[in-house]
Symmetry: D2
Subunit: 379 residues, 4 copies
Amino acid sequence: MTKKLNIGMIGYGFMGRAHSNAYSQVNHFFDLDYQPVLKAACARNEAEVKAFAGKWGYESVETDWRALVARKDIDAIDICTPNDLHKDIALAAAEAGKIILCEKPLARDGNEGEVMVQAVEKAGVPNMVWYNYRRVPAVTLAKQLIDEGRLGRIFHYRSVFLQDWTISADLPQGGHNLWRLDAGAAGSGVTGDLLAHCFDTALWLNGPMEDVTAMTETFIKERMHNLTGKMEKVGIDDACAVMTRFANGSLGTFESTRYARGHKSKYTFEINGEKASIAWDLHDLHRLSYFDHGDDSVVRGWHSVHATDHDMPYMGKWWVPGLQIGYEHSFIHQVADFLDGLAQDKVTSPTFKDALATQYVCDAVLASAQSQAWQTIKT
Amino acid sequence: MTKKLNIGMIGYGFMGRAHSNAYSQVNHFFDLDYQPVLKAACARNEAEVKAFAGKWGYESVETDWRALVARKDIDAIDICTPNDLHKDIALAAAEAGKIILCEKPLARDGNEGEVMVQAVEKAGVPNMVWYNYRRVPAVTLAKQLIDEGRLGRIFHYRSVFLQDWTISADLPQGGHNLWRLDAGAAGSGVTGDLLAHCFDTALWLNGPMEDVTAMTETFIKERMHNLTGKMEKVGIDDACAVMTRFANGSLGTFESTRYARGHKSKYTFEINGEKASIAWDLHDLHRLSYFDHGDDSVVRGWHSVHATDHDMPYMGKWWVPGLQIGYEHSFIHQVADFLDGLAQDKVTSPTFKDALATQYVCDAVLASAQSQAWQTIKT
Amino acid sequence: MTKKLNIGMIGYGFMGRAHSNAYSQVNHFFDLDYQPVLKAACARNEAEVKAFAGKWGYESVETDWRALVARKDIDAIDICTPNDLHKDIALAAAEAGKIILCEKPLARDGNEGEVMVQAVEKAGVPNMVWYNYRRVPAVTLAKQLIDEGRLGRIFHYRSVFLQDWTISADLPQGGHNLWRLDAGAAGSGVTGDLLAHCFDTALWLNGPMEDVTAMTETFIKERMHNLTGKMEKVGIDDACAVMTRFANGSLGTFESTRYARGHKSKYTFEINGEKASIAWDLHDLHRLSYFDHGDDSVVRGWHSVHATDHDMPYMGKWWVPGLQIGYEHSFIHQVADFLDGLAQDKVTSPTFKDALATQYVCDAVLASAQSQAWQTIKT
Amino acid sequence: MTKKLNIGMIGYGFMGRAHSNAYSQVNHFFDLDYQPVLKAACARNEAEVKAFAGKWGYESVETDWRALVARKDIDAIDICTPNDLHKDIALAAAEAGKIILCEKPLARDGNEGEVMVQAVEKAGVPNMVWYNYRRVPAVTLAKQLIDEGRLGRIFHYRSVFLQDWTISADLPQGGHNLWRLDAGAAGSGVTGDLLAHCFDTALWLNGPMEDVTAMTETFIKERMHNLTGKMEKVGIDDACAVMTRFANGSLGTFESTRYARGHKSKYTFEINGEKASIAWDLHDLHRLSYFDHGDDSVVRGWHSVHATDHDMPYMGKWWVPGLQIGYEHSFIHQVADFLDGLAQDKVTSPTFKDALATQYVCDAVLASAQSQAWQTIKT
């Protein structure tokens, strides 16, 4: 018999939609003991949250997240707010004994994150952070190939996350859709928003980093602020480049920017091992590039693996070979794994603690950019 | 106030899932007057159809399609059976005054198709055939670019649909998942299954064809038949190549096969016009290739358009630029357009009549392969 | 000790340059017993041929090809004239006992070609036709992979040669650079100029074809003729599409046009076998695409082989892995093989006789386009 | 009347061949006042240099470079030796009043380079360094597009040069073909060999860099030394990553390694500007990728420019549109430009002084890797 998991969603923006979709879809495609129920959606703007709830079929709405957290009929709190609210909500939800699913990054910095980890560990509640890209099938496949030892000793990890949506100086900062440009709400710019994804994947695929050196830049120094109505100094990093050494001896380079004309959401990574290399690009997320030095030399070359066959991770649940899935499916896979973990009483990664490691890397990156010196990463 | 449209689904296979998903998802992303309700699912195997209904939330099941058609609480019949049942169901549904949504191809041949068109026209019921690829955003964009006159006079249309899943001689024919290899159930092989897609798109983008010459081949002559348990002659075409002249003076080439090692579902088309060319590939369905002779010569080259920006067809309803959608979304778009058509009392293409034109092309192709002579296409 | 091979070159156009370059370069990169000597260049226009000879270091010039053929100090005649002169020159050269290297196509049609084959065979002179693409390393590699049996039974061969340089109706026909548009000089349009390359490669890689059906089109019906100064009917085929059955049971499709906007010289072929497939594109001639069904399923995908390693055909003679060679190198390789054949008294393909087979295919294609019926190919 | 330029070549390795080829070919394709004459080749190993001279048609040989420099019949000295000899030869050649063409990098470090610059400037002799990639047509096109202002303000420059040929621990260091692994002969590893190319291009396209931070790694710590026959510590950098700030305010990232499995000679750069972006890859050197934000939004995407049309830099001298040239042509173009500069009494870049700027960047990179701190670049 399917067990119900009552979801209380906080936030109704881009991520509110992506998560709601995942809850709606997961049981259509995966055989699971649990079924999420869209119990309540919460946001300060009552009209907006009612429209959102209607669209997705949430049974009720709240306008105060504390009221939501207090409800007995809610099993799990999903935090889709701007970053500055993550900590307070998580602490209250943990105290209330709720399962917590928190949008990434975990927090604005490691200090906040530590408190959050302590809270969920003390409360003993299942917790997860939505670093969804781990569950793009081609990325999960990359993990599998590495775990099988196909790459051998790793020499290099390189990753970028490039966008171009903030190049115009006329774009304001702050408020509903633009809180990511407001340092107060977001904590940082591309480092916490985009590089955090790169770091999460890297830590998962290639293990811990030891130290970093970084540079950041804010190309547009002032922008109109939607909340104050005035031109205000821009506090976030528009761009950030990082060099690092991994504990396994490999070298890492990372770069992110919102000023790379021609790239909308170009998150790529490439890993070079002694025996094989792999590369992936979010702009063609259904493909994995793979080079195997063990191939016969006359046919040796990068394989473009169209990761849609039924033996690819998660793909047996979808359509037929050759037919792509898209971005939102990574969230569905994450929910499927999380529900499966609940049923089997197993931890599903990335947990708050996993996400704290990413936060520590971000902290070291921003500190290095400030100090212009190498920084050891906290562990 | 949203109006309900009660769906009666016949069939629970691959297409049953794709259509059910479309009905479930459409109102999450599109603002529509109508909302589909999954009222009943129908199939002969009661256990299977109950499992299917449970998974997708159908309110009831039927094991006799005639009983489903007879139900008063059903507004629309969705035909997802093997091709040999399309006609009988459609005729009954039309007579019962139901809206009909029929999986492609419309029928096994033009004769069946003509009767079906007459039936829906006589009954005056809205009708549509699921040639879903028209609503892949990049394909819809292609139509838009052509309609804007960007290509100028068209010289060439070339299209292939390549698969490789039937190469093994050990694969049987017939029965649940393999009726597409059984000429009795399918009508034809790649011509009706795959080339029909190519022709539908071509007729839509480039107008009518006048005549064709074709060759077909059946590489594996006998296969075990799942229904008889015996080796039986294979009656379908494994591969088919076609040359044609369009009414607009352009030349067309088409090819389909299930013996193209390395291609899972490689449906491509390319159109060469006097001023510009476009090309598309289902294996990277989120991209459109575009070449514009009007570009400055030093930067002239094929554009790889990542069709995910919000001004791309349908994409404003989904995520943010750079993030792909996948195969199943084409069905969601088709339902969205159909529901919008219902609300506005407008016809949504492709109708049964549109699909009959594709059927006539298929008939001429198969006749030409038989006669080894050019065949005029019925209109 | 290196032996000299005295070359008499007839023609100084595009192919005159490509061949002269090959003679100049071959001994810089290949260790050979023979060394070509640029003894004489011949063309009717004395000023032009002198300039050409000066540029390439030809020791002398002639303005009458019969005078060149008559010279005792010439070992080999290289025919780089428009097609309408191939036969007469070849017959005279054979009679004079010269080695003959003839630019493709061998002749304007099979009748001319047969006479030429008879002449060289009767005279017993070494002869070769410049179907240079066989010696692009990636293409030679394709041949090697097929000969090793890596593809298994072949199901499909598809090939196109697309250009876009004659789309403008203002382009005249005839004369120095435009004789390819003049049916009298060229014999045919894209069929003899471009499809001949496709057929030569196909016959080499996939064996003989049995019959063909074809359609041709001349999109611009009249063009100013440079020789008459008047608007004249265009006699060549602007575009041609072909379907064929190979003797090995595989199906072939071919298409060529000079009206495919966006393609300059896009010659591609793809071969689908039971076990593996290969594909090649002249626009990236240094790469071969290869798909091997025998690869582990999780890393199976098209290999993009950068055919520059030293174990690739011919590549050990050039630079280091990763560094491309280009178009002209195919001619250098052909001369290298030809000189090596001379030294070892072995025939180097394609000979006149090999090229006659291609001519027969072209003849059948043009006849089919005329008759609108399948045509058996002469053997 | 063509003037002769008598070349004295020192070295006969990979670069000796590439330069000799350029001298041999340049007048076949370019109309120039000067014609190089292969007057003498010089190397210590007499048998080898004789074989080399025979192959390329050098009129004489020398075994002592000082003897070559002393010859009156030599106009220009071409230095193709390992890096440790560049300085001494250049000083002697300058003193002898010879034109000097020096293979890159100019020297093992900036100190050597400064002396060399002083010497050629004092002597007033034309001088050039073979940073050949500037003259790959697609790269020259990139320069042209930037100079036309098409990119607008530059935000980012990123470049890598990846190889994989030294991964095996069994590969020795030192001696004829492996001096690049010997710190004494080479000065540095990938920094001087590969990043120097990246820096030269970057300085040319994007202007001066102000400071850098870098990390280097030597993955294989000891290798057999061909000259001593013993296992010796490896002194070169196997890999190097760099971050920099350009004077124009843009951020730069650079990385090079010989441990990137799957990449033979993958030199890429990408430049992101406010209005447009460009990208290039040596593995497909005939293409330039270009993204123009000014394109109509519905057809906006990366252009893949097949840089073979006649209006592309240098391409009017070669074949027809669509037909590639290769690696060696960049050297031919450099000689063509140099000879043209001589004829017009104009300086041809990159001069020794231009190359010294690259040397300063390399010095700062290596110093930063040592100090683990940002380093200002000498100017």
